[in-house]
Protein backbone atom coordinates (compact mmCIF):
# COMPACT_ATOMS: atom_id res chain seq x y z
CA UNK A 1 0.00 0.00 0.00
CA UNK A 2 1.27 3.40 -0.93
CA UNK A 3 1.68 5.78 1.97
CA UNK A 4 1.16 9.52 1.73
CA UNK A 5 2.39 11.84 4.40
CA UNK A 6 1.76 15.40 3.46
CA UNK A 7 2.60 16.89 6.79
CA UNK A 8 6.34 16.33 6.59
CA UNK A 9 6.98 20.05 6.34
CA UNK A 10 5.34 20.48 9.72
CA UNK A 11 7.63 18.15 11.58
CA UNK A 12 10.18 20.96 11.66
CA UNK A 13 8.18 22.98 14.21
CA UNK A 14 8.05 19.78 16.20
CA UNK A 15 11.83 19.59 16.30
CA UNK A 16 11.93 23.21 17.40
CA UNK A 17 9.45 22.46 20.11
CA UNK A 18 11.52 19.57 21.44
CA UNK A 19 14.66 21.73 21.31
CA UNK A 20 12.84 24.45 23.21
CA UNK A 21 11.72 22.03 25.91
CA UNK A 22 15.23 20.63 26.29
CA UNK A 23 16.69 24.13 26.39
CA UNK A 24 14.12 25.09 29.01
CA UNK A 25 14.97 22.06 31.12
CA UNK A 26 18.71 22.80 30.93
CA UNK A 27 18.20 26.47 31.83
CA UNK A 28 15.95 25.43 34.65
CA UNK A 29 18.62 23.24 36.21
CA UNK A 30 21.51 25.70 36.00
CA UNK A 31 19.93 28.97 37.09
CA UNK A 32 19.93 30.00 40.78
CA UNK A 33 17.11 28.75 42.98
CA UNK A 34 15.28 32.07 43.25
CA UNK A 35 15.16 32.42 39.49
CA UNK A 36 13.95 28.89 38.97
CA UNK A 37 11.33 29.41 41.65
CA UNK A 38 10.20 32.54 39.81
CA UNK A 39 10.15 30.60 36.55
CA UNK A 40 8.17 27.82 38.17
CA UNK A 41 5.58 30.33 39.37
CA UNK A 42 5.37 31.83 35.91
CA UNK A 43 5.04 28.37 34.41
CA UNK A 44 2.12 27.59 36.71
CA UNK A 45 0.37 30.82 35.69
CA UNK A 46 1.07 30.06 32.04
CA UNK A 47 -0.39 26.56 32.41
CA UNK A 48 -3.54 27.80 34.12
CA UNK A 49 -4.18 30.57 31.59
CA UNK A 50 -3.33 28.34 28.63
CA UNK A 51 -5.62 25.54 29.78
CA UNK A 52 -8.32 28.10 30.53
CA UNK A 53 -8.32 29.28 26.91
CA UNK A 54 -7.97 25.76 25.56
CA UNK A 55 -10.76 24.18 27.62
CA UNK A 56 -13.06 27.06 26.86
CA UNK A 57 -12.35 27.07 23.12
CA UNK A 58 -12.37 23.34 22.38
CA UNK A 59 -16.17 22.93 22.45
CA UNK A 60 -16.51 25.83 20.00
CA UNK A 61 -13.87 24.49 17.64
CA UNK A 62 -15.61 21.10 17.74
CA UNK A 63 -18.91 22.81 16.94
CA UNK A 64 -17.33 24.48 13.90
CA UNK A 65 -15.64 21.38 12.54
CA UNK A 66 -18.83 19.39 13.14
CA UNK A 67 -20.78 21.96 11.09
CA UNK A 68 -18.12 21.75 8.41
CA UNK A 69 -18.35 17.96 8.33
CA UNK A 70 -22.12 18.09 7.99
CA UNK A 71 -21.85 20.67 5.18
CA UNK A 72 -19.38 18.43 3.38
CA UNK A 73 -21.67 15.43 3.52
CA UNK A 74 -25.16 16.87 3.34
CA UNK A 75 -24.96 20.04 1.21
CA UNK A 76 -24.38 19.68 -2.50
CA UNK A 77 -22.34 22.07 -4.57
CA UNK A 78 -25.22 22.53 -7.04
CA UNK A 79 -27.56 23.63 -4.28
CA UNK A 80 -25.12 26.21 -2.90
CA UNK A 81 -24.40 27.60 -6.37
CA UNK A 82 -28.13 27.80 -7.08
CA UNK A 83 -29.04 29.76 -3.95
CA UNK A 84 -26.01 32.08 -3.92
CA UNK A 85 -26.76 35.57 -5.25
CA UNK A 86 -24.60 36.57 -8.20
CA UNK A 87 -24.58 40.29 -7.52
CA UNK A 88 -22.04 41.53 -5.05
CA UNK A 89 -24.11 43.41 -2.51
CA UNK A 90 -26.78 40.74 -1.96
CA UNK A 91 -24.00 38.14 -1.84
CA UNK A 92 -22.16 40.01 0.92
CA UNK A 93 -25.37 40.70 2.86
CA UNK A 94 -26.34 37.04 2.69
CA UNK A 95 -22.89 36.08 3.95
CA UNK A 96 -23.05 38.47 6.87
CA UNK A 97 -26.33 36.89 8.01
CA UNK A 98 -25.38 33.25 7.46
CA UNK A 99 -24.20 33.01 11.05
CA UNK A 100 -27.84 32.94 12.11
CA UNK A 101 -28.04 29.53 10.39
CA UNK A 102 -24.56 28.27 11.33
CA UNK A 103 -23.96 29.33 14.93
CA UNK A 104 -20.17 29.20 15.04
CA UNK A 105 -17.62 31.44 16.69
CA UNK A 106 -14.23 32.59 15.49
CA UNK A 107 -12.47 29.24 15.87
CA UNK A 108 -15.16 27.28 14.08
CA UNK A 109 -15.99 29.74 11.34
CA UNK A 110 -12.62 29.49 9.59
CA UNK A 111 -12.72 25.81 8.61
CA UNK A 112 -16.42 26.15 7.82
CA UNK A 113 -15.79 29.09 5.46
CA UNK A 114 -13.11 27.17 3.63
CA UNK A 115 -15.46 24.22 3.29
CA UNK A 116 -18.19 26.46 1.89
CA UNK A 117 -15.71 28.01 -0.58
CA UNK A 118 -14.89 24.52 -1.73
CA UNK A 119 -18.58 23.94 -2.26
CA UNK A 120 -18.74 26.97 -4.55
CA UNK A 121 -19.76 29.81 -2.26
CA UNK A 122 -19.03 33.26 -3.82
CA UNK A 123 -15.98 35.07 -2.40
CA UNK A 124 -17.86 38.06 -1.01
CA UNK A 125 -20.44 35.85 0.71
CA UNK A 126 -17.72 33.74 2.31
CA UNK A 127 -15.65 36.69 3.53
CA UNK A 128 -18.69 38.48 4.94
CA UNK A 129 -19.66 35.24 6.68
CA UNK A 130 -16.13 34.77 8.02
CA UNK A 131 -16.08 38.20 9.64
CA UNK A 132 -19.70 38.50 10.76
CA UNK A 133 -20.61 35.00 11.95
CA UNK A 134 -18.68 35.14 15.25
CA UNK A 135 -21.02 37.97 16.31
CA UNK A 136 -24.13 37.65 14.14
CA UNK A 137 -25.26 34.35 15.57
CA UNK A 138 -27.95 33.45 18.10
CA UNK A 139 -25.57 32.46 20.91
CA UNK A 140 -23.52 35.64 20.81
CA UNK A 141 -26.53 37.92 20.38
CA UNK A 142 -28.04 36.23 23.42
CA UNK A 143 -24.89 36.49 25.54
CA UNK A 144 -24.35 40.16 24.61
CA UNK A 145 -27.95 40.94 25.49
CA UNK A 146 -27.53 39.06 28.76
CA UNK A 147 -24.44 41.10 29.63
CA UNK A 148 -25.39 44.57 28.41
CA UNK A 149 -29.16 44.40 28.09
CA UNK A 150 -31.04 45.16 24.90
CA UNK A 151 -29.56 48.61 24.58
CA UNK A 152 -27.25 50.56 22.34
CA UNK A 153 -24.21 48.35 23.03
CA UNK A 154 -26.01 45.35 21.54
CA UNK A 155 -27.38 47.40 18.64
CA UNK A 156 -24.02 48.95 17.76
CA UNK A 157 -22.12 45.70 18.18
CA UNK A 158 -24.39 43.99 15.67
CA UNK A 159 -24.64 47.03 13.39
CA UNK A 160 -20.95 47.79 13.23
CA UNK A 161 -20.07 44.13 12.70
CA UNK A 162 -22.52 43.94 9.79
CA UNK A 163 -21.13 47.14 8.26
CA UNK A 164 -17.52 45.92 8.48
CA UNK A 165 -18.33 42.42 7.22
CA UNK A 166 -20.40 43.63 4.27
CA UNK A 167 -17.85 46.31 3.32
CA UNK A 168 -14.95 43.89 3.35
CA UNK A 169 -17.07 41.28 1.57
CA UNK A 170 -17.59 43.81 -1.22
CA UNK A 171 -13.88 44.70 -1.28
CA UNK A 172 -13.04 41.02 -1.69
CA UNK A 173 -15.49 40.61 -4.56
CA UNK A 174 -12.67 41.92 -6.76
CA UNK A 175 -11.44 38.35 -6.47
CA UNK A 176 -13.65 36.38 -8.78
CA UNK A 177 -12.44 33.02 -7.66
CA UNK A 178 -12.08 31.68 -4.13
CA UNK A 179 -8.94 29.81 -5.17
CA UNK A 180 -7.22 33.19 -5.58
CA UNK A 181 -7.37 33.86 -1.88
CA UNK A 182 -7.03 30.35 -0.50
CA UNK A 183 -3.55 29.12 0.21
CA UNK A 184 -4.03 26.03 -1.86
CA UNK A 185 -5.81 26.32 -5.17
CA UNK A 186 -9.29 24.86 -4.93
CA UNK A 187 -8.85 22.08 -7.46
CA UNK A 188 -6.18 20.43 -5.40
CA UNK A 189 -7.22 21.65 -2.03
CA UNK A 190 -5.96 19.25 0.56
CA UNK A 191 -9.09 19.27 2.58
CA UNK A 192 -9.86 16.47 4.88
CA UNK A 193 -12.29 14.50 2.79
CA UNK A 194 -13.10 10.86 2.47
CA UNK A 195 -12.86 10.51 -1.25
CA UNK A 196 -15.31 8.07 -2.59
CA UNK A 197 -18.96 8.69 -2.15
CA UNK A 198 -20.75 5.40 -2.57
CA UNK A 199 -24.22 5.63 -3.99
CA UNK A 200 -27.14 4.99 -1.69
CA UNK A 201 -25.11 5.61 1.39
CA UNK A 202 -27.20 5.08 4.51
CA UNK A 203 -27.85 8.00 6.84
CA UNK A 204 -25.70 6.46 9.56
CA UNK A 205 -22.86 6.03 7.10
CA UNK A 206 -23.15 9.67 6.08
CA UNK A 207 -23.04 10.82 9.67
CA UNK A 208 -20.03 8.67 10.32
CA UNK A 209 -18.31 10.18 7.27
CA UNK A 210 -19.18 13.69 8.49
CA UNK A 211 -17.62 12.86 11.84
CA UNK A 212 -14.43 11.61 10.21
CA UNK A 213 -14.20 14.80 8.14
CA UNK A 214 -14.72 16.85 11.31
CA UNK A 215 -12.07 14.86 13.11
CA UNK A 216 -9.45 15.54 10.44
CA UNK A 217 -10.34 19.21 10.49
CA UNK A 218 -10.23 19.31 14.29
CA UNK A 219 -6.68 17.97 14.14
CA UNK A 220 -5.71 20.48 11.48
CA UNK A 221 -7.18 23.52 13.24
CA UNK A 222 -6.53 22.37 16.80
CA UNK A 223 -2.86 22.92 16.16
CA UNK A 224 -3.44 26.63 15.59
CA UNK A 225 -5.76 26.90 18.54
CA UNK A 226 -3.00 25.47 20.73
CA UNK A 227 -0.31 27.72 19.27
CA UNK A 228 -2.56 30.76 19.62
CA UNK A 229 -3.57 29.89 23.17
CA UNK A 230 0.06 29.43 24.22
CA UNK A 231 1.13 32.74 22.65
CA UNK A 232 -1.74 34.51 24.40
CA UNK A 233 -0.89 32.80 27.69
CA UNK A 234 2.81 33.71 27.39
CA UNK A 235 1.92 37.35 26.78
CA UNK A 236 -0.47 37.36 29.70
CA UNK A 237 2.14 35.79 31.97
CA UNK A 238 4.92 38.22 31.19
CA UNK A 239 3.35 41.49 30.08
CA UNK A 240 1.70 43.32 32.97
CA UNK A 241 -1.89 43.91 32.04
CA UNK A 242 -2.02 46.89 34.36
CA UNK A 243 0.47 48.77 32.22
CA UNK A 244 -1.70 48.24 29.17
CA UNK A 245 -4.77 49.52 30.96
CA UNK A 246 -2.86 52.38 32.56
CA UNK A 247 -1.83 53.56 29.11
CA UNK A 248 -5.37 53.26 27.92
CA UNK A 249 -6.96 56.58 28.70
CA UNK A 250 -7.90 59.29 26.29
CA UNK A 251 -10.13 58.91 23.25
CA UNK A 252 -7.50 57.37 20.99
CA UNK A 253 -5.36 55.33 23.37
CA UNK A 254 -8.34 53.78 25.15
CA UNK A 255 -9.55 52.29 21.88
CA UNK A 256 -6.07 51.03 21.02
CA UNK A 257 -5.69 49.53 24.51
CA UNK A 258 -9.01 47.68 24.34
CA UNK A 259 -8.32 46.40 20.83
CA UNK A 260 -4.88 45.17 21.90
CA UNK A 261 -6.48 43.50 24.87
CA UNK A 262 -9.00 41.78 22.58
CA UNK A 263 -6.16 40.34 20.53
CA UNK A 264 -4.08 39.30 23.54
CA UNK A 265 -6.92 37.78 25.57
CA UNK A 266 -8.04 35.66 22.60
CA UNK A 267 -11.28 34.74 24.29
CA UNK A 268 -14.18 33.30 22.37
CA UNK A 269 -16.79 35.69 21.01
CA UNK A 270 -19.52 33.75 22.74
CA UNK A 271 -18.28 34.85 26.15
CA UNK A 272 -16.38 38.08 25.48
CA UNK A 273 -19.40 40.23 26.35
CA UNK A 274 -19.17 39.12 29.98
CA UNK A 275 -15.50 40.01 30.02
CA UNK A 276 -16.15 43.40 28.41
CA UNK A 277 -18.72 44.07 31.11
CA UNK A 278 -15.85 44.19 33.57
CA UNK A 279 -14.45 47.25 31.81
CA UNK A 280 -17.58 49.36 31.88
CA UNK A 281 -16.88 52.30 34.14
CA UNK A 282 -13.15 52.21 33.51
CA UNK A 283 -13.39 52.39 29.74
CA UNK A 284 -15.53 54.45 27.41
CA UNK A 285 -18.40 53.13 25.34
CA UNK A 286 -16.40 53.51 22.13
CA UNK A 287 -13.41 51.54 23.33
CA UNK A 288 -15.53 48.68 24.69
CA UNK A 289 -17.47 48.61 21.43
CA UNK A 290 -14.25 48.29 19.45
CA UNK A 291 -13.20 45.45 21.79
CA UNK A 292 -16.49 43.67 21.08
CA UNK A 293 -16.35 44.22 17.32
CA UNK A 294 -12.66 43.73 16.58
CA UNK A 295 -11.96 40.82 18.99
CA UNK A 296 -14.25 38.32 17.26
CA UNK A 297 -12.73 39.14 13.86
CA UNK A 298 -9.05 39.15 14.78
CA UNK A 299 -7.14 37.63 17.66
CA UNK A 300 -3.97 35.61 18.05
CA UNK A 301 -5.50 32.21 17.42
CA UNK A 302 -7.71 33.30 14.53
CA UNK A 303 -4.76 35.04 12.84
CA UNK A 304 -2.82 31.76 12.94
CA UNK A 305 -5.82 29.92 11.51
CA UNK A 306 -6.26 32.56 8.77
CA UNK A 307 -2.65 31.99 7.77
CA UNK A 308 -3.25 28.27 7.50
CA UNK A 309 -6.26 28.75 5.22
CA UNK A 310 -5.66 31.94 3.22
CA UNK A 311 -2.75 33.44 1.32
CA UNK A 312 -0.74 36.17 2.98
CA UNK A 313 -2.22 39.13 1.13
CA UNK A 314 -5.85 38.32 1.90
CA UNK A 315 -4.88 37.71 5.53
CA UNK A 316 -3.23 41.12 5.57
CA UNK A 317 -6.49 42.73 4.45
CA UNK A 318 -8.59 40.54 6.74
CA UNK A 319 -6.64 41.91 9.69
CA UNK A 320 -5.97 45.47 8.56
CA UNK A 321 -9.42 46.50 7.31
CA UNK A 322 -11.38 45.45 10.43
CA UNK A 323 -8.62 47.04 12.52
CA UNK A 324 -8.92 50.39 10.77
CA UNK A 325 -12.70 50.48 10.67
CA UNK A 326 -13.22 49.48 14.30
CA UNK A 327 -10.49 51.88 15.42
CA UNK A 328 -12.17 54.68 13.53
CA UNK A 329 -15.60 53.76 14.90
CA UNK A 330 -14.30 53.57 18.46
CA UNK A 331 -12.63 56.98 18.23
CA UNK A 332 -15.72 58.52 16.63
CA UNK A 333 -17.88 57.25 19.49
CA UNK A 334 -15.39 58.56 22.04
CA UNK A 335 -15.69 62.04 20.57
CA UNK A 336 -19.45 61.95 20.08
CA UNK A 337 -20.36 60.43 23.45
CA UNK A 338 -17.40 60.34 25.79
Amino acid sequence: MEIHIHGRRLSRPLIWLILLVVLGAVLFSIVPLTVSLWLWQKLAIFATVFLGIFIEAVPFLLMGTLASGLVEVFLSQEWITRISPQRTLPAAVLGSLLGLVFPVCECGVIPLTRRLFRKGLPVSTGIAFLLAAPVINPIVIFSTAAAFGRGRMLAWRLGLTLIIAITIGIVFSAQRNASDILRQPLFEVELPVVNAQPKGEAFGEKLSRALIVSTDEFFEMGRYLIMGASLAAIMQTFIPQTSLLAVGSGPLLSVIAMMTLAVVLSICSTVDAFVALGFVGTFSFGSILSFLVFGPMVDIKSMLMYLQVFRRRPVFYLVLLPLLISLLAGITFNYLSP
Partner: protein, 248 residues
Protein backbone atom coordinates in the same frame (compact mmCIF):
# COMPACT_ATOMS: atom_id res chain seq x y z
CA UNK B 1 2.04 5.35 8.35
CA UNK B 2 -0.90 3.29 7.20
CA UNK B 3 -4.37 4.76 7.21
CA UNK B 4 -5.50 2.30 9.82
CA UNK B 5 -2.68 3.19 12.18
CA UNK B 6 -3.26 6.91 11.63
CA UNK B 7 -6.96 6.56 12.42
CA UNK B 8 -6.15 4.58 15.57
CA UNK B 9 -3.66 7.22 16.70
CA UNK B 10 -6.25 9.93 16.09
CA UNK B 11 -8.73 7.96 18.18
CA UNK B 12 -6.12 7.62 20.92
CA UNK B 13 -5.41 11.37 20.98
CA UNK B 14 -9.11 12.25 21.05
CA UNK B 15 -9.66 9.71 23.83
CA UNK B 16 -6.86 11.31 25.84
CA UNK B 17 -8.40 14.78 25.45
CA UNK B 18 -11.88 13.49 26.33
CA UNK B 19 -10.54 11.67 29.41
CA UNK B 20 -8.57 14.75 30.47
CA UNK B 21 -11.70 16.91 30.27
CA UNK B 22 -13.80 14.26 32.01
CA UNK B 23 -11.29 13.86 34.87
CA UNK B 24 -11.07 17.63 35.37
CA UNK B 25 -14.86 17.83 35.34
CA UNK B 26 -15.43 14.92 37.75
CA UNK B 27 -12.68 15.90 40.17
CA UNK B 28 -14.09 19.40 40.46
CA UNK B 29 -10.83 20.85 39.13
CA UNK B 30 -12.43 22.36 36.04
CA UNK B 31 -13.18 25.57 37.92
CA UNK B 32 -9.46 26.29 38.19
CA UNK B 33 -9.63 27.01 34.48
CA UNK B 34 -13.13 28.12 33.54
CA UNK B 35 -16.22 29.55 35.17
CA UNK B 36 -18.45 26.56 35.87
CA UNK B 37 -21.26 28.40 34.12
CA UNK B 38 -19.61 27.05 30.96
CA UNK B 39 -19.24 23.47 32.19
CA UNK B 40 -22.12 22.26 29.96
CA UNK B 41 -19.93 23.16 26.99
CA UNK B 42 -17.23 20.86 28.29
CA UNK B 43 -19.81 18.08 28.57
CA UNK B 44 -20.81 18.82 24.97
CA UNK B 45 -17.16 18.58 23.90
CA UNK B 46 -16.76 15.21 25.63
CA UNK B 47 -19.86 13.89 23.82
CA UNK B 48 -18.64 15.08 20.40
CA UNK B 49 -15.20 13.61 21.03
CA UNK B 50 -16.82 10.30 22.00
CA UNK B 51 -18.85 10.30 18.76
CA UNK B 52 -15.69 11.02 16.76
CA UNK B 53 -13.83 8.19 18.47
CA UNK B 54 -16.76 5.88 17.75
CA UNK B 55 -16.75 6.89 14.08
CA UNK B 56 -12.98 6.38 13.88
CA UNK B 57 -12.90 2.91 15.36
CA UNK B 58 -16.04 1.42 13.83
CA UNK B 59 -15.18 2.60 10.33
CA UNK B 60 -16.29 0.07 7.76
CA UNK B 61 -12.96 -1.36 6.76
CA UNK B 62 -12.21 1.21 4.11
CA UNK B 63 -14.80 -0.34 1.87
CA UNK B 64 -14.64 2.70 -0.36
CA UNK B 65 -11.53 1.10 -1.84
CA UNK B 66 -13.42 -1.24 -4.03
CA UNK B 67 -15.45 1.56 -5.46
CA UNK B 68 -15.01 0.84 -9.14
CA UNK B 69 -15.57 4.31 -10.57
CA UNK B 70 -12.71 5.58 -8.53
CA UNK B 71 -9.17 4.94 -9.58
CA UNK B 72 -7.82 5.40 -6.10
CA UNK B 73 -6.62 2.13 -4.71
CA UNK B 74 -6.90 3.38 -1.16
CA UNK B 75 -8.45 6.06 0.91
CA UNK B 76 -6.20 9.04 0.63
CA UNK B 77 -5.95 10.95 3.88
CA UNK B 78 -4.69 14.30 2.66
CA UNK B 79 -4.28 15.90 5.99
CA UNK B 80 -2.35 13.03 7.55
CA UNK B 81 0.14 14.72 9.75
CA UNK B 82 2.09 13.25 12.59
CA UNK B 83 2.80 16.66 14.11
CA UNK B 84 -0.93 17.40 14.44
CA UNK B 85 -1.25 14.29 16.57
CA UNK B 86 1.56 15.41 18.83
CA UNK B 87 0.31 19.01 18.97
CA UNK B 88 -3.06 18.01 20.32
CA UNK B 89 -1.38 16.15 23.14
CA UNK B 90 0.47 19.29 24.29
CA UNK B 91 -2.41 20.67 26.41
CA UNK B 92 -2.78 17.29 28.10
CA UNK B 93 0.96 17.13 28.78
CA UNK B 94 0.88 20.63 30.25
CA UNK B 95 -2.15 19.70 32.32
CA UNK B 96 -0.53 16.54 33.66
CA UNK B 97 3.08 17.67 34.08
CA UNK B 98 2.55 21.11 35.55
CA UNK B 99 0.60 20.72 38.77
CA UNK B 100 -2.73 22.55 38.63
CA UNK B 101 -2.47 25.75 40.61
CA UNK B 102 -4.96 28.54 40.79
CA UNK B 103 -3.93 32.07 39.87
CA UNK B 104 -2.31 33.53 42.98
CA UNK B 105 -0.33 36.49 44.27
CA UNK B 106 2.39 35.83 41.71
CA UNK B 107 -0.18 36.15 38.95
CA UNK B 108 -1.65 39.20 40.63
CA UNK B 109 1.72 40.93 40.43
CA UNK B 110 1.67 40.95 36.61
CA UNK B 111 -2.02 41.66 36.44
CA UNK B 112 -2.35 44.11 39.28
CA UNK B 113 -4.94 44.09 42.01
CA UNK B 114 -8.06 46.17 41.71
CA UNK B 115 -9.24 47.84 44.88
CA UNK B 116 -12.31 49.13 43.14
CA UNK B 117 -13.43 46.46 40.74
CA UNK B 118 -15.05 47.82 37.61
CA UNK B 119 -18.03 45.56 38.02
CA UNK B 120 -21.41 46.90 37.11
CA UNK B 121 -24.89 45.65 37.62
CA UNK B 122 -25.48 41.99 37.22
CA UNK B 123 -28.08 39.61 38.50
CA UNK B 124 -26.11 38.75 41.62
CA UNK B 125 -25.47 42.37 42.51
CA UNK B 126 -28.46 42.79 44.79
CA UNK B 127 -27.33 39.77 46.77
CA UNK B 128 -24.23 41.71 47.77
CA UNK B 129 -26.43 44.19 49.58
CA UNK B 130 -28.97 41.82 51.03
CA UNK B 131 -26.64 39.24 52.49
CA UNK B 132 -25.58 39.50 56.11
CA UNK B 133 -22.33 41.36 56.77
CA UNK B 134 -20.37 38.24 57.76
CA UNK B 135 -21.57 36.41 54.64
CA UNK B 136 -20.16 38.96 52.20
CA UNK B 137 -16.98 38.09 50.36
CA UNK B 138 -14.30 40.41 49.03
CA UNK B 139 -16.20 41.00 45.80
CA UNK B 140 -19.46 41.83 47.59
CA UNK B 141 -17.81 44.53 49.69
CA UNK B 142 -16.10 46.06 46.70
CA UNK B 143 -19.36 46.03 44.76
CA UNK B 144 -21.13 47.87 47.54
CA UNK B 145 -18.49 50.59 47.58
CA UNK B 146 -18.44 50.77 43.78
CA UNK B 147 -22.19 50.94 43.37
CA UNK B 148 -22.36 54.61 44.27
CA UNK B 149 -24.93 54.08 47.00
CA UNK B 150 -24.51 55.73 50.35
CA UNK B 151 -22.12 53.42 52.18
CA UNK B 152 -22.50 55.01 55.62
CA UNK B 153 -25.03 52.37 56.67
CA UNK B 154 -22.42 49.70 56.00
CA UNK B 155 -19.61 51.38 57.89
CA UNK B 156 -18.81 49.78 61.22
CA UNK B 157 -20.27 46.42 60.22
CA UNK B 158 -18.01 43.51 60.92
CA UNK B 159 -16.50 41.97 57.81
CA UNK B 160 -15.42 38.35 57.73
CA UNK B 161 -13.57 37.60 54.51
CA UNK B 162 -11.08 35.07 53.19
CA UNK B 163 -8.42 35.83 50.62
CA UNK B 164 -4.72 35.70 49.89
CA UNK B 165 -2.27 38.31 51.14
CA UNK B 166 -1.01 40.73 48.52
CA UNK B 167 1.49 43.46 49.36
CA UNK B 168 0.77 46.45 47.21
CA UNK B 169 3.21 49.32 46.71
CA UNK B 170 0.44 51.82 47.21
CA UNK B 171 -0.02 50.68 50.80
CA UNK B 172 1.60 51.56 54.11
CA UNK B 173 3.77 49.26 56.20
CA UNK B 174 0.91 48.18 58.44
CA UNK B 175 -1.41 47.38 55.55
CA UNK B 176 -1.97 44.55 53.09
CA UNK B 177 -4.62 43.55 50.59
CA UNK B 178 -6.85 40.55 51.23
CA UNK B 179 -7.37 39.46 47.62
CA UNK B 180 -9.26 37.06 45.42
CA UNK B 181 -9.18 36.32 41.71
CA UNK B 182 -12.43 36.92 39.84
CA UNK B 183 -13.05 34.71 36.82
CA UNK B 184 -15.69 35.79 34.34
CA UNK B 185 -15.38 32.99 31.84
CA UNK B 186 -11.92 31.47 31.97
CA UNK B 187 -8.57 31.92 33.67
CA UNK B 188 -7.45 34.10 30.75
CA UNK B 189 -9.73 36.90 31.87
CA UNK B 190 -9.10 36.51 35.58
CA UNK B 191 -8.32 39.65 37.50
CA UNK B 192 -7.54 40.14 41.16
CA UNK B 193 -9.49 42.33 43.53
CA UNK B 194 -8.57 43.20 47.07
CA UNK B 195 -9.64 45.03 50.22
CA UNK B 196 -7.15 47.09 52.18
CA UNK B 197 -6.56 45.70 55.68
CA UNK B 198 -5.10 47.68 58.55
CA UNK B 199 -3.20 45.36 60.86
CA UNK B 200 -0.19 46.24 62.97
CA UNK B 201 1.45 42.88 62.34
CA UNK B 202 0.98 43.09 58.56
CA UNK B 203 4.72 42.86 57.94
CA UNK B 204 4.82 39.39 59.51
CA UNK B 205 2.56 37.98 56.82
CA UNK B 206 4.05 36.36 53.74
CA UNK B 207 2.59 37.23 50.40
CA UNK B 208 0.18 34.62 49.01
CA UNK B 209 -0.74 33.27 52.46
CA UNK B 210 -4.47 32.60 52.73
CA UNK B 211 -6.00 34.49 55.64
CA UNK B 212 -9.36 34.98 57.28
CA UNK B 213 -9.72 38.64 58.18
CA UNK B 214 -12.30 39.87 60.69
CA UNK B 215 -12.87 43.46 61.65
CA UNK B 216 -14.85 46.63 61.26
CA UNK B 217 -15.36 48.11 57.80
CA UNK B 218 -14.32 51.68 57.16
CA UNK B 219 -14.16 53.88 54.14
CA UNK B 220 -10.75 54.71 52.72
CA UNK B 221 -9.42 56.82 49.87
CA UNK B 222 -7.05 55.13 47.43
CA UNK B 223 -6.22 56.77 44.12
CA UNK B 224 -9.10 59.19 44.66
CA UNK B 225 -11.62 56.42 44.96
CA UNK B 226 -13.61 55.46 48.02
CA UNK B 227 -12.73 51.85 48.78
CA UNK B 228 -13.49 49.60 51.72
CA UNK B 229 -10.90 49.08 54.43
CA UNK B 230 -10.98 46.52 57.20
CA UNK B 231 -9.64 47.52 60.60
CA UNK B 232 -8.57 43.99 61.53
CA UNK B 233 -9.41 42.56 64.93
CA UNK B 234 -8.04 39.21 63.94
CA UNK B 235 -6.07 37.84 61.01
CA UNK B 236 -5.97 34.08 61.02
CA UNK B 237 -3.94 31.98 58.62
CA UNK B 238 -6.19 29.45 56.89
CA UNK B 239 -6.00 26.72 54.26
CA UNK B 240 -6.57 27.73 50.67
CA UNK B 241 -10.33 27.31 50.14
CA UNK B 242 -11.45 24.52 47.78
CA UNK B 243 -12.75 27.25 45.47
CA UNK B 244 -10.03 29.91 45.34
CA UNK B 245 -11.76 32.08 42.74
CA UNK B 246 -14.86 34.21 42.93
CA UNK B 247 -17.36 34.18 40.08
CA UNK B 248 -19.36 37.32 39.48
Amino acid sequence: MSNKLYRSLQAFVLLTIALFLAVKLMSGKLDLYINLRFAPLTVFAIIVLALMIYALVRRPKDKFHQDEHHDHQHEHIHSMSFSALVFLLIPILIGVLIPARPLDAAAASTRGVNVSAPIVSSASQTLSFESAADQRNVLDWIRIFKSGTDVTTYLGETANVIGFVYKDQRLAENQFLVSRFVITCCAADGFAIGIVVNWDQASTLDENTWVNVKGAVKSYQLEDQPVPLIEADSVEIVEEPPQPYLFP
